[in-house]
């Protein structure tokens, strides 16, 4: 539409993620490196899945609409599975790297914990996934027109931005839950991550009924947020203390500086 829509949608989609990056990751170069590596792994998974999809589309019947839709669904499912596979691959790589890092570093303790790695890699996956989802749409939002002349919904840009925001945060939560499940050998956790990822991707097929796709996505987002919080070590008591600003007393009681 105009520059205002462009900036609005950009900030909606990437705002929280960039804020997370700036406040929690940017200061530590090691975290930045692992974030970028995570983004790269996601990119490779996308490349592979798009290659497969491209080849299957070329050999398919281009005129048949049902076949093309079927191929699209197949492509989405394959992409999700490949992304999760690459997340697992990254986990294995990080485990190996951590041992190497420990050997190299001067200190006795690990420079970065596996939980931090989970968070950082999830956010890296999220950044790259968000970029690929929304950058194309953002560039078209700069022009003077908005979607709708062929009867599509007007809320295309803002829905895409909110969906992208949800996906980025979801990738971060999935990363945390996934790595935790791998550490604890809880394979049902892995399955839950994969299935929720599939659900979120496939629910986008009901678009342009945006309420049908955004609401389930955000429900899953809040569930995964709570799960990730619990995996990361949080509890309801801590949350209440934090939110009601009784943390000062708590810290004093535990002899920790603020």
């Amino acid at each position: 539409m105009t520059v205002a829509v462009f900036f609005g949608c950009t900030f909606i989609a990437f705002g929280p993620a960039v804020a997370l990056f700036v406040f929690t990751i940017a200061r530590d170069p090691l975290r930045v490196i692992f974030l970028i590596a995570g983004a790269f792994f996601w990119l490779v998974s996308l490349l592979l899945s798009s290659l497969v999809w491209f080849i299957t589309v070329q050999i398919s019947n281009k005129n048949s609409a049902t076949q093309q839709t079927g191929l699209l669904i197949f492509g989405v499912v394959l992409s999700v599975l490949l992304q999760e596979a690459f997340r697992y691959g990254y986990y294995r790589l990080l485990k190996k790297a951590n041992e190497g890092l420990l050997a190299l570093s001067q200190e006795d303790t690990m420079p970065i914990s596996i939980r931090q790695l989970a968070y950082v890699s999830g956010l890296g996956f999220g950044f790259m996934s968000g970029a690929f989802s929304v950058v194309n749409i953002l560039s078209d939002s700069l022009g003077p027109g908005t979607v709708g002349i062929h009867g599509d919904s007007q809320h295309y840009f803002i829905s895409s931005a909110f969906m992208t925001l949800a996906i980025i945060l979801l990738h971060m939560f999935w990363g945390v839950v996934f790595f935790e499940s791998c550490e604890r050998q809880r394979w049902w956790g892995l399955g839950a991550v994969v299935i929720s990822h599939l659900v979120v991707s496939c629910v986008s097929f009901v678009n342009p009924h945006y309420q049908g796709s955004l609401i389930p996505t955000y429900i899953i987002l809040s569930v995964m947020a709570a799960w990730a919080y619990l995996c990361a070590g949080g509890s309801l008591r801590n949350l209440k203390l934090c939110l009601t600003c009784k943390d000062k007393d708590f810290l004093l009681a535990n002899h920790r500086p603020r």
């Binding site: 900036f7 609005g8 900030f11 705002g15 929280p16 491209f54 027109g145 908005t146 002349i149 949350l239």
Partner: protein
């Protein structure tokens, strides 16, 4: 080796991925509907002014509104709540008063004019009332009481729209399907319900027609010169209007011998080749120009065989001048070349001149001869005048021989706008201009898009196939054939031919029918014996430089068309081979100075094959660019200084626009999230302590 192969395979795969678009359903296609057929109005400049239309460099956007009634006009100009508006103008509203109000308003982003016959007023001429008033023969020093149309206003219905400068784009909508798309978008989104304003989202249109040149020719050519001299990648801003004149003669003239031709006395028969209208490259000019071209071509067809059998003492020189609408570009160039001894003949060779003006609308079967009263009044050149009068009476005597119409002499009036005026400026030669009007033009659509075959009353009985229409002798064709016969016979007499041969000179209405047919078969530039070319609907002056970005025009340049028809009518078939035809100077029997050689693909035979052959004719092209550009006098008052601006892209598209509130709301949402973030990050320690 295997590494190289695998690397190459990977490279091939990656490049294939990049360059193949599997499913091009991009977001852009959801937003924009691109209009394919765009007919813009472009900017032209002369020594002192700029005319035409301009858009901003990133296009002009406006909310669509269809202008059908007076209340719509009021809505657009004052009361509508969503300015600026992109006006879709019905035909009836495309007049001077409405366009001037649009020009003075800041609420108009652009205009798209629907071109149709419904609602068309009974006259529309965007040209000025006095065409070419500053570059004709009448001025302060010559016939000052006749200058600036003080004597006769030639185009009283002219509203001068073509010569106004608009700061917004004006496009023409000729394609009915495209107009329907626009109307549908307007009806779906922009229509007023019960007098209240329409709600967002609204249908809007964006027009791109950014012109590079500004102010006038002097400024533009100066900037172009600077670019050419100092820039690594010079950017030309405007181009002088230029094309070619077409000329031929009954006796071949030596093209390499410039200057005065010995023992040649020439009668010039001339007409114009171009037309114009408000929009770019749209100029049917049926009555304004085509009638003259067809008549002169039919004249040549009638006269040529007789002049070969019984040649008259004087040579007859037929000339088609290009660019006459823009201050006589073609004729001023030819006169300039003649005076500079840079042409096959010079002014001393010219005996007299007969020009064919607008001759298509002969109501009451009358034809008028116009002459210049000033040159005839000059008593000091007595012998010349009496010679002129003698010749003129011979002319009129010859012309009025035919009983099928009346011929009248227009005595007290100035000459109408014609190429003959430029010849008179150089030398007082006797001459006449033939026209179907006495005082002002009978053409009610002079130099407009509506001067088409219908204006010429070319009508066919119902039920004819296109091929039958080609050979049907319409009334218009018969009328033009009569004029052609007359002109041919009078030219023969004027050239000193004998009266006994006059009866063999008759123009064939069938050829004239061919040429005025409104058929829209695809055009072929190759000559076929059946002459199935139809006269193209556009006679606008084409520019000769090759750096045009424009989409290919689907009408062949008229210059080529006339050149090939002339070659067909006056040429002889030779049995040269293709290489000989292209290099005839190698043969001793052929003379490249006297003739030009055309390799023609021939008529299509029954099984589709063609047998090409070489045609030799004395048809030539001569460059028609204003002498002002050769003399580098860009601000010249004597010669035409018209240039056309260059542009990068001309296109149009429609889309929906949303309200400003929706746009502004979105960044506000984002501010909330950012502030929360910092608070939370400060409390991470507390949140994750066990």
């Amino acid at each position: 080796m295997t590494d190289l192969i695998s690397i190459n395979c990977v490279k091939l795969l990656i490049s294939a991925l990049f360059y193949t678009c599997v499913l091009c359903s991009s977001v852009e296609q959801k937003i924009y509907v691109v209009l394919n057929e765009t007919v813009p109005c472009v900017r032209l400049l002369n020594a002192t002014h700029q005319i035409g239309c301009q858009s901003s460099i990133s296009g002009d956007t406006g909310v669509l509104h269809v202008l059908e009634t007076e209340s719509d006009l009021d809505w657009i100009l004052s009361s509508g709540p969503h300015p600026p508006y992109m006006v879709i103008m019905e035909t009836a509203f495309f007049n001077r008063s409405v366009m001037m109000r649009m020009k003075n308003s800041s609420r108009v982003a652009g205009v798209a004019v629907i071109i149709s016959k419904t609602g068309l007023a009974d006259n529309f001429s965007p040209h000025t009332t006095c065409p070419n008033q500053n570059t004709g023969v009448y001025s302060e020093s010559y016939g000052s009481d006749l200058a600036n149309c003080n004597g006769t206003v030639w185009n009283p219905l002219g509203n001068g729209l073509s010569y106004e400068d608009f700061s917004f784009p004006v496009f023409a909508l000729k394609d009915e399907n495209q107009t329907q798309v626009l109307r549908k978008c307007y009806e779906d989104h922009n229509q007023r319900v019960n007098g209240s304003a329409p709600q967002y989202p609204l249908c809007a249109m964006q027009l791109f027609s950014h012109m590079h040149a500004v102010t006038d020719t002097v400024t533009c050519m100066r900037r172009t010169d600077l670019q050419n001299r100092f820039s690594i990648n010079p950017e030309v801003l405007c181009d002088p209007l230029s094309d070619f004149n077409v000329w031929t003669s009954t006796r071949p003239l030596n093209n390499s011998a410039k200057g005065h031709a010995a023992d040649e006395s020439v009668v010039i028969a001339a007409t114009r080749l171009d037309g114009r209208s408000f929009f770019w490259e749209q100029a049917p000019a049926a009555e304004g120009t085509v009638s003259g071209i067809v008549t002169l071509l039919a004249t040549i067809q009638a006269l040529y065989p007789v002049t070969q059998e019984a040649p008259p003492p004087r040579n007859i020189f037929f000339s088609f001048f290009q660019g006459e609408a823009f201050d006589y570009i073609g004729s001023s160039k030819m006169v300039y070349d003649m005076e500079k001894n840079d042409f096959v003949i010079d002014m001393n060779n010219v005996h007299s001149m007969l020009e064919i003006g607008q001759v298509g609308l002969r109501s009451g079967r009358s034809l008028w001869m116009h002459s210049d009263p000033v040159s005839r009044q000059n008593k000091s050149v007595d012998t010349e005048v009496s010679e002129e009068e003698g010749k003129l009476s011979l002319f009129s005597h010859a012309l009025s021989r035919s009983p099928s119409f009346t011929l009248s002499l227009s005595l007290s009036q100035p000459l109408p706008p014609s190429s003959f005026q430029r010849f008179l400026r150089a030398r007082r030669i006797p001459g006449l201009v033939l026209a179907d009007h006495n005082t002002s033009f009978t053409n009610r659509y002079y130099e407009s898009m509506y001067d088409d075959a219908e204006n010429l009353n070319v009508t066919y009985p119902p039920g004819l196939t296109p091929d039958e229409q080609l050979v049907y002798e319409t009334d218009a064709a018969k009328s033009l054939a009569e004029v052609a016969t007359l002109v041919a016979r009078s030219l023969y007499l004027q050239a000193g031919g004998e009266e006994k041969n006059l009866n063999n000179i008759t123009a064939d209405p069938k050829i004239v029918s061919h040429m005025t047919s409104t058929n829209t078969h695809t055009h072929t530039l190759t000559l076929t014996l059946s002459l199935s070319l139809s006269l193209s609907p556009s006679l606008s002056l084409s520019l000769s430089h090759t750096h045009r970005h424009m989409t290919s025009s689907h009408t062949p340049p008229v210059t080529r068309f006339v050149q090939y028809i002339l070659a067909n009518l006056t040429g002889t078939v030779t049995n040269l081979t293709e290489s000989q035809c292209q290099n005839p100077s190698e043969l001793s029997t052929e003379n490249k100075d006297l003739f030009s050689y055309f390799w023609v693909s021939g008529p299509a035979s029954v099984n589709g094959t063609r047998e090409p052959f070489c045609v030799r004719a004395s048809v030539r092209l001569s460059k028609a660019v204003s002498p002002a550009f050769e003399l580098l006098e860009y601000g010249s008052r004597n010669y035409s200084t018209w240039t056309e601006s260059r542009w990068k892209s001309i296109r149009a598209r429609i889309f929906l626009v949303a309200s400003r509130e929706l746009e502004v709301m979105q960044p506000a949402l984002v501010e909330l999230t950012e502030t929360k973030q910092k608070n939370i990050s400060a409390k991470t320690e507390i949140m994750f302590i066990k």
